[in-house]
Symmetry: C2
Subunit: 656 residues, 2 copies
């Protein structure tokens, strides 16, 4: 009835799933999961993910009954109100005790796989025969919508491949989606499908009258030491209401007389809205007291661990405190102008392989492009069932799940620093998960190589144009496009330092022209800075602004212009977001308002560059799709040559 009362009070929300899954939700929080509401961040708690995030009321009500401080009755009364702790979908940054932010369907399934992966990895690295300090399970509730989404398929395939047996997926099979009965668009034998992927599959036919069967299913899950378990629970959406079993119950309020008959059915008619029988709190407390006890035991165990395995314990503590040991950044390599040039993906490889030596939490992989992205961690093993301690994750060609799983790894909040690599163009496949990294403060590092038309022969299907612009527009996401070795190192430094924000590091396939004299790893934190300038105390005649592989073009063009007596400044705008956060004075210092002749040079969409070059400046970008061809031919076709940059600069300089 709390669910009904909250929806009626808010005149908004999604009661259907919450009512249909109320038995299951209560059972999990009362009898199954190990957690301590008095310390929602206890490391060894079981993780719970509501992938069908619109059913958030189920979780809010369970958290309230279990005694989480973050969900008081007052919070339930403020459902979907601006500023409340009970927004329309669960948000981990708003409500303590919520592990991940869900709502976009299927994302939670991938997050749950990431949480289970994190547990498996840490258990393999730190547990000892006499001391299991990492030992918890992951539960996830998915709905019919999640069942249809591609990301769910990708993540489920990986969970089974890895044999993440401590992951339990509970599928709310309520036969309805928003548009009507699921039969409108779904004819699968979903159990057979999960079985084909390698899951232990169990069906509970009558969930509402038969908790024993559900309990048996959980026992089967606990007993399986190879397969993750898929429990299909058949439920009635909007249970007890007149909309029960129909898609009308999915969202929206109830008629008043429907509420009345529901209250009568459960002998609730004399009670005020938001009434809770004290016994329910007491029942829940049995489980949460048990959780508190388990937490205490865990701390004792950890003391034992510290005494007997001090080295491992020290590393574990570094992880739990965020994963950044002191002075970790000094490991990053430095480059000088005389060093051989490489593609920025090559510099990235060198950075990663230094970082992995000092960051105990660095873990990640590629969507089947490890060799192209150059992200394989030398000296580490693959993360596989037989080697959960491995730190190279083989995602296969599953970009979307890779990103969703990475969010789960980050939000396990155990100091793991996940990276996820593919071609920049395929950021499109995982865009929503990248967005959720930003929204849920998951510090995932997206390593995106082949970052422009400079990738050449593979052609326009693989050449990113608008991807940088689209990613730069995502709030909180840091997008770096480093120009050479030192800027690549600087990008990693910032990406790793920002543990509560995701980063994209866009890297070239092709060799860049030089390690530039004026670039600096340290300056990357400012997002934009002056690379070179021959203006002395005067203002420059013109400013050339570049990023990534095109910064060298700017520098070469500047040299040609300077030979002709021009005062030219070259600016690297390696990370817009960080530059935008600088004090006004600094921004004015780098890009003085009085210098209106400015050219930006970036082999991608011009979207957004006006902000930096102004209405009198020129944006050199790519406004159409790319073309298959050798990289230099492609660059030439789109005007990215020293000669052309110089030509454009001269034409601008000749204007008054």
């Amino acid at each position: 009835m709390l669910i009904v009362d909250a929806v009626q009070n808010a005149q908004a929300g999604h009661p259907g799933m919450a009512l249909g899954m109320a038995d299951i939700g209560y059972y999990l929080y009362r009898h199954v999961m190990r957690y301590n509401p008095r310390d929602p961040k206890w490391f060894n708690r079981d993780r719970f993910v509501l992938s069908a995030g619109h059913g958030c009321l189920l979780q809010y009500v369970c958290h309230h009954l279990a005694g989480f401080e973050s969900v008081q009755l007052e919070d339930l009364k403020r459902l979907c109100k601006l500023g409340s702790r009970t927004p329309g979908h669960p948000e981990n940054t708003v409500t303590d005790g919520i592990e991940v932010t869900t709502g976009p369907l299927g994302q939670g399934v991938a997050n749950a796989v990431g949480l289970a992966l994190a547990e498996a990895h840490l258990a393999a690295r730190f547990n000892k025969p006499d001391c299991d300090i990492v030992d918890h399970r992951t539960y996830c509730i998915m709905g019919d919508g999640c069942a249809m989404e591609g990301i769910t398929h990708e993540a489920a395939s990986l969970a089974a491949h890895w044999k993440l047996h401590k992951l339990t997926m509970i599928y709310d099979d309520n036969h309805n989606t928003i548009d009507g009965p699921i039969s409108l668009a779904f004819s699968e034998d979903i159990s057979a499908r999960f079985k084909a992927l390698g899951w232990n599959t169990i069906t509970v036919d009558n969930t509402h009258d038969d908790m024993d069967s559900f309990n048996d299913a959980l026992l089967s899950a606990f007993g399986d030491t190879e397969k993750p378990t898929f429990i299909r629970v058949k439920t009635l959406i909007g249970r007890l209401s007149r909309k029960e079993g129909t898609s009308k119950a999915h969202h929206g309020t109830f008629e008043e007389d429907d509420v009345k008959q529901m209250r009568q059915k459960v002998n609730w008619d004399s009670r005020e809205p938001f009434h809770v029988i004290p016994m329910v709190y007491r029942e829940m407390q049995i489980q949460t007291d048990h959780g508190e006890k388990l937490e205490k035991e865990w701390f004792s165990k950890f003391d034992y661990f510290k005494t007997n395995y001090p080295e491992e314990a020290a590393e574990f503590e570094v992880l739990l405190s965020g994963g950044l040991p002191p002075n970790w950044e000094t490991c990053l390599p430095e480059w000088s102008v005389t060093d051989p040039v490489d593609a920025t993906r090559g510099y990235s490889e060198k950075c990663l392989n230094q970082l992995v030596k000092v960051l105990p939490g660095l873990i990640g992989g590629s969507a089947d492009l490890a060799s192209s992205n150059k992200v394989y961690l030398q000296g580490s093993q693959d993360f596989q069932h037989s080697s959960f301690y491995g730190r190279n994750i083989r995602y296969g060609v599953r970009e979307h799940a890779m990103a969703g799983i990475s969010n789960g790894i980050a939000l396990h909040r155990s100091g793991l620093i996940p990276f996820a690599a593919t071609f920049l163009i395929f950021s499109d496949y995982m865009k929503n998960s990248i967005r959720l990294s930003a929204l849920s403060h998951a510090g995932v590092i997206y390593i995106m190589t082949h970052d422009s038309i400079g990738l050449g022969e593979d052609g326009p299907t693989h050449q990113p144009i608008e991807q940088l612009a689209g990613l730069r527009a995502v709030p909180r996401l840091l997008v770096f496009r480093p120009a050479d070795g030192n800027e690549t190192a600087g990008a990693y430094r910032e990406a790793i330092t920002n543990r509560d924000a995701p980063s994209v590091i866009a890297l070239s396939r092709q060799k860049v022209a030089a390690n530039l004299e004026g670039t600096s790893a340290n300056e990357v934190e400012k997002g934009g800075y002056i690379i070179s300038d021959n203006s002395g105390k005067s203002l420059p005649d013109i400013i050339l602004i570049g990023t990534g592989s095109e910064l060298c073009l700017c520098e070469e063009s500047a040299k040609m212009l300077r030979k002709e007596g021009r005062r030219v400044r070259v600016v690297s705008l390696v990370c817009w977001q960080l530059f935008n956060r600088q004090p006004k004075e600094y921004k004015e210092h780098v890009l003085p308002s009085s210098v209106s002749k400015r050219i930006s040079v970036e082999a991608g969409s011009s979207m957004g560059w006006s902000e930096y070059v102004g209405r009198e400046g020129i944006v050199m970008g790519v406004e159409e799709f790319g073309a298959s061809g050798a990289y230099l031919d492609t660059f030439k076709k789109f005007g990215f040559t020293e000669e052309n940059v110089t030509r454009v600069a001269k034409s601008l300089l000749s204007q008054y």
Copy 2:
């Protein structure tokens, strides 16, 4: 050997799959598919999709041998060269005879489902007991990468749900991906998985020595009148080379001595590169002559159809000529300022339901949000197995496949005009397919409702912020954000007129404030235009630029400012891309350079707005994630009120 020669000559490309699938490719083009290279656009041809697009050489070589004008030996010699007709992945806009543009994995599978859907739909509508004018099959080759992608799962689920039995999927099971053996990341029983979805599944164990088994599989496919067929062919990647059977064969050239031993193996050592035995051309010609004969027969059949079913034939001819009957646009409703206001999604519903009456090709649906998106076509049936003639497609919660399938429908090139609807936020789930609509000139209409923080309670996971910016940056994609009824009608007019470019129509969930006096359906084609202005012959003091639901705010604020004696212009920038294409004079007319006080008002990312407001203007946007709350509260929180727009305008007006 043509494959090997082309890769060696280009020093680029992906020979592995092309070699492994050469037998299958040849068999299909020589013995199975009905097509006429002399008329690659013959309506009733079988459709072929290479979802594993990196294997394009397979298709180029087959097309060359079959006599397609577009692939001469000279073209094979120019593989991956700038401007060639043989780019690194197949592009339908570059090479006649290529149906769809593939490369991003899994997309082709969804395209193939769309092509098969188009056939099934047209067959159900036009075939007569005595005359089947629509009767062709769709073949698709997918690889291991496609097998892992979520979009493939979504599309495969729908193909089986719809029982698209004339679709044959050929899975190149070569056990390798780029990073190594597929076992690194894939443990599924893929045949069981497709069976669980409802496919007829067949495995051909030894493809290279046993074309009879492959032929038997095809016969099984032809005989199945319910299920689509999944033929798993086990192949050797990079066959005959020393890299055979390993991931090293996936892409890249061969060592010269490897080429030499391959040539010896096939008794080719005395031949020049790019040699073709004339017999091969003659063999292929048997099939293409057969295709030519079939085409002639089809035209005779169509004559019979015209004679006996003149009405249906007339409609069919409208479709084949592009689907736009004369004066179709006059069906669009008009609104006046006194009409009751609605959300723009409501206006959209009215437009769609007029359009469906006059456009025989309009077909589409929603990813389980038909009622929220308001896209259900009244008076039409659902597209289901029992009613393929239906024009309402139920995609389920499968956005990515929806977009990929829509591309297939559009590129069937039979006058069908597909629309695809979901919330604007979920454009993220289908971003790559939207991009491919633009790249492959597929005029899909994306109807994206709930287009800002104005959706309210569902909160930040559902509130688009950066989506408009990201979509506006996609080349060739038209993004409309209409403000009221007439602009919505105008957006549809443009979207439908532009059959070779996709459109996004972003629509509000919430009611807009008014049907504005100054808006106009006709003006939408210019992308931006003046809504109101009290400046007379003078220039305005300030220009307020808005889109969508915020245009009313601009108009209201303008009224307040005008009362205080200000000259204020309000501009609707309903489609940036169309505005950018206008002559300089027109743009200067709407946004005169000398008026530097400009404010843009749009409840989304500010990315890109600088271009229109200039460095002295102010962009009113949203630079963070939204918030769950009632829509007016949310709008207020982010500053989208008349009062605040007026306040900002006054502060700008007071600056010098």
